[in-house]
Symmetry: none
Subunit: 216 residues, 2 copies
DNA sequence: AGAAAAACGAACAAAAACGAACAAATATTT
DNA sequence: AAATATTTGTTCGTTTTTGTTCGTTTTTCT
């Protein structure tokens, strides 16, 4: 049996039953336990499952609430993968700016793992998802943009300006061919600019669908 | 059976029956009593249940804080009726302060009917609900209180202080017999005080369950 | 109130699961 | 065909979880 087939079967069992033990998987898939463990370790790294003692569960710990704006989408899509890669830059005790983009919302999952972090975000849904997962969060507040459920305006900017962050994770609507970031509204651009000014390390979260699109 | 599955099953039994004994759980889940005790101790630490002699109950003691989502369901009808009554004071073009209480969240429904209003709120879920219904909304921002999903702190207060409202709708945890409002945290009290200072008309949303309860 | 029964926590030993290292088997490249 | 790389299974020491056995505390029954 091909590795990829075994991986697929593990995921199918997990989707069906929400959890599975190493011993059972080993018997059922005719592989040794260490092999199953290696499979599970790999699949966890890719974000498909969560390892627990004795086996694995799908979609993070079942006793934790899953953020509603992330939950809707398939595990392992581009944004989840990007978020997991970006999470490598995180460290304990960090102060983090997150913009209101849906890509940034996917950072909630990896952020859960860290201790003693503080997240400042302009995303209304992101702020809620963070709080629901027990992460310390400050919302910028400000005028709500109904289209994207993000906050902008002078109040939001004043909030960012009064702080300093170790990291900022941000996104944009489009990335033109010569590498310029573009977006829809001037307010969102202004807020992002402020975030970038006040953060030490800047990380752009961007998938290929953004390439070659030009807005403002 | 995986540890995490056993935890899940304990929680499901508890949700269904409100309480369960250690001996019964041990028999039903094929585990020894000390194991069940360790599970219950862990789940209590995580805030999912309250340990009592002989077993555990869900939700915690009545004098302790009730989680937001539970509180939202209780007294649901009363709050809707209150909101409808309070809506009589609204008028077109008004600027309105809303606190983060679950009672205030019920104002979203009547607010939908009005044109050209602006709502300033410290409730994270309230802000989202308003935006989803096409109401112009400004969030105070600030530190998120995980328990109630409301914003407090200097940012939130500064936001309120920079504005003036025609109306403020607010609530409290308890109303002592001599008519004094009490609440859990000093931050929430401070923010409410600021809202009251900056609003012309003040409307307290309160049902009978608050009477005679005293907090801070 | 006092005795019996039940539940408790702590300590300890058995069992299960784990990770790491290594060797065998299988694929892939040269 | 030989060399190399990858995957897999085995072994072993370690960690985690679990069940058992105490003595102690709490509840219940008389």
């Amino acid at each position: 049996m091909l590795i990829i087939d075994r991986h697929q079967q593990i995921l199918e069992i997990l989707k069906r039953e929400r959890s599975a033990g190493v011993t059972r998987l080993a018997r059922e898939l005719f592989a040794s336990e260490p092999t199953i463990r290696r499979d599970l370790a790999y699949l966890e790294e890719q974000g498909y499952l969560k390892r627990v003692y004795g086996g694995a569960v799908i979609g993070g710990a079942p006793d934790r609430e899953i953020p509603y704006n992330v939950r809707a989408e398939e595990q392992g899509d581009a944004k989840t993968i990007i978020a997991r890669k970006a999470a490598k830059y995180l460290h304990k005790g960090a102060v983090i700016f997150l913009d209101g983009s849906s890509t940034a919302a996917h950072m909630v999952e990896p952020l859960k793992e860290l201790e003693d972090i503080l997240v400042v975000t302009s995303g209304a849904k992101t702020a809620l998802a963070l709080a629901e997962n027990g992460i310390r969060v400050i919302s910028t507040g400000g005028q709500m943009i109904t289209r994207s459920f993000t906050y902008v305006g002078s109040h939001a900017e004043a909030c960012i300006r009064s702080m300093r962050a170790d990291l900022v994770f941000f996104s944009c609507r489009g990335l033109s061919d010569d590498g310029e970031m573009t977006d829809i509204s001037i307010e969102e651009i202004n807020l992002r600019r402020t975030m970038l000014e006040r953060a030490h390390t800047k990380i752009l979260l961007c998938d290929s669908s953004k390439f070659g699109k030009q807005y403002m």
